[in-house]
Amino acid sequence: MDHVGLVHPNGHRALRQVSLRLAAGEQVAVIGPSGAGKTSLLRVAGTSVRPSDGRVEALAVNPWQLGARDLRRLRARIGMVHQAPPIPPRLRVVTAVLAGRLGAWSTGRALASLLYPADIVGARDVLARFDLADRLFDRCDRLSGGQLQRVGIARALYQRPALLLADEPVSALDPVLVDAAVGQLVAQAQATGATLLASLHAVDLALKWFSRIVGMREGEVVFDAPAGEVGPTMLHDLYAAEGAALPMQGSGPLPRVALDAPAPTTVVPLVRPGCR
């Protein structure tokens, strides 16, 4: 990204003069107070919004100069974990995960998979990394908010994108599960050589898992430094408007949680069965 600016249609300026370059396979966390432009940054990187000014390249091509077919191919190689998982409640978990590969599948295969899931084993394997393999054939409206968010992450991992973007991917998760989920994102990026750009609310989480930290405030990059060089002063400056305390996931160093931590057993249906 080179001097990227973004003005929303309502006139709100979300990004100003943001320049950022990620090497292939690099893992970078974006932190900053809410409203800093983290989501906008990810959306520009994910080719879902066109920047108002400046230049953007994703996976070494300018998406806005591509034809429809090439743009679609590029988008199939970019995965996004959304803050609120965009999954219809009536979809089954297996279908929701398999939807990650729709960009790579032909329309015929996509439609056939609605009748009989095309890759049950693949979906089960990726869900197993989030302790959700037993929910494979449940409907998504039977899951809790945290479980649904993990299904959203599983979908992006199943996509196996070359550029993996994550927008507050763990905001609805239990503190115990947060560490495991971020660990899975990082592990996937390492295993597939994907570039990972994640926005995180918790500073300690970012410092623990990511080698490079980008601090944002009011649509601008305030600092861009290796995790080791990010000190308390920089962080307190970044979050000055939000009071003295830094947003943390846990106090002190996070305990290394086994990746197979037990899932919460309470199931809160998001939609009551009687609801339309």
Partner: protein, 279 residues
């Protein structure tokens, strides 16, 4: 706004004035429309009119139940059902691609927005125009046209229903798809999915119930519309009704009306069952 400028605490709903304005505007517009439409409901209750209507309705009793007539009625009912179902099926085939083309949340060019935004808008506008054209001409007019070409009988009714109802189905399908949660479809398109896959994985799971019950409702309307078309010779219950009315046989007419009641009940039960199935 002005309250804030004056430094007065906002204890009043800032929208109150706009709402009152809209209400007054509605009355000001509606009143002349009622006058224009010669809307005088009290005329219904004037003694002379009541007597005339009462006489007309009394002729409907008792309902006709002769075996011969019931046989005719059965054939006509089957013909009407066939006409409505075939018409809706054809309309569906025409409406689905048009609605698919018209739904903005399935537009790839709106993401970004992309380079083809203008072309996408033009295509959606064209699909919308086609749908407007299809439903702008009442089905009875189409039926009159087709009766001339195909002769008396249900075939003309089928084509008339297919054309007009394609316009209605397509418009409402697109609106139903647009009024649910459109983020799933958009997220899929942003991940490179095709439009048809985005429809099936992103929009249909949330909209299937509404789409099914609207389709069944339109089928019900088609059953009723076939009466009007029967009057112009397109067969079915309508033609039977036309004959009974012309022969001033109120008993037969009321039996036909009871049949309609049962058909609408049937459509209602079908719709409820489909909604349960898709819940």
């Amino acid at each position: 706004m002005s309250a804030a400028v004056l430094g007065v605490a906002q204890a009043r709903d800032p929208q109150a004035r706009a709402r009152a304005g809209a209400l007054i505007a509605a009355v000001v517009i509606l009143w002349p429309l009622l006058v224009l439409a010669e809307f005088k409901p009290w005329a219904l209750f004037e003694a002379g009119n009541l007597k005339v209507m009462g006489g007309f309705l009394a002729g409907f009793l008792p309902p006709a139940t002769s075996v011969e007539f019931l046989g005719l009625l059965l054939v006509a009912t089957l013909q009407t059902l066939a006409m409505a179902t075939a018409g809706i099926a054809l309309a569906w085939g025409l409406a689905v691609p048009l609605a698919f083309a018209m739904t903005p949340s399935l537009s790839v060019s709106r993401i970004g927005p992309g380079n083809a935004l203008r072309r996408g808008r033009a295509l959606r506008g064209a699909a919308r125009m086609v749908l407007v054209f299809l439903r702008a001409i009442p089905e009875v007019v189409w039926a009159l046209v087709f009766v001339r070409a195909l002769g008396l009988g249900p075939a003309a009714g089928v084509l008339a229903i297919a054309i007009t109802y394609a316009g209605m189905l397509g418009k409402v399908y697109a609106e139903i798809l647009e009024s649910g949660d459109t983020r799933p479809a958009r997220a899929l398109l942003e991940a490179g999915s095709g439009r048809l896959a985005a429809l099936c994985y992103g929009l249909l799971p949330g909209a299937a119930q509404e789409l099914a019950s609207y389709t069944v409702y339109r089928w019900e309307c088609a059953v009723r519309a076939s009466v009007v078309m029967g009057f112009v010779g397109a067969g079915g219950l309508g033609q039977l009704m036309d004959q009974s009315m012309k022969m001033l046989n109120g008993g037969e007419a009321s039996t036909i009306l009871v049949t309609f009641l049962l058909l609408v009940q049937l459509a209602d039960a079908l719709s409820a069952a489909l909604r349960r199935l898709l819940a």
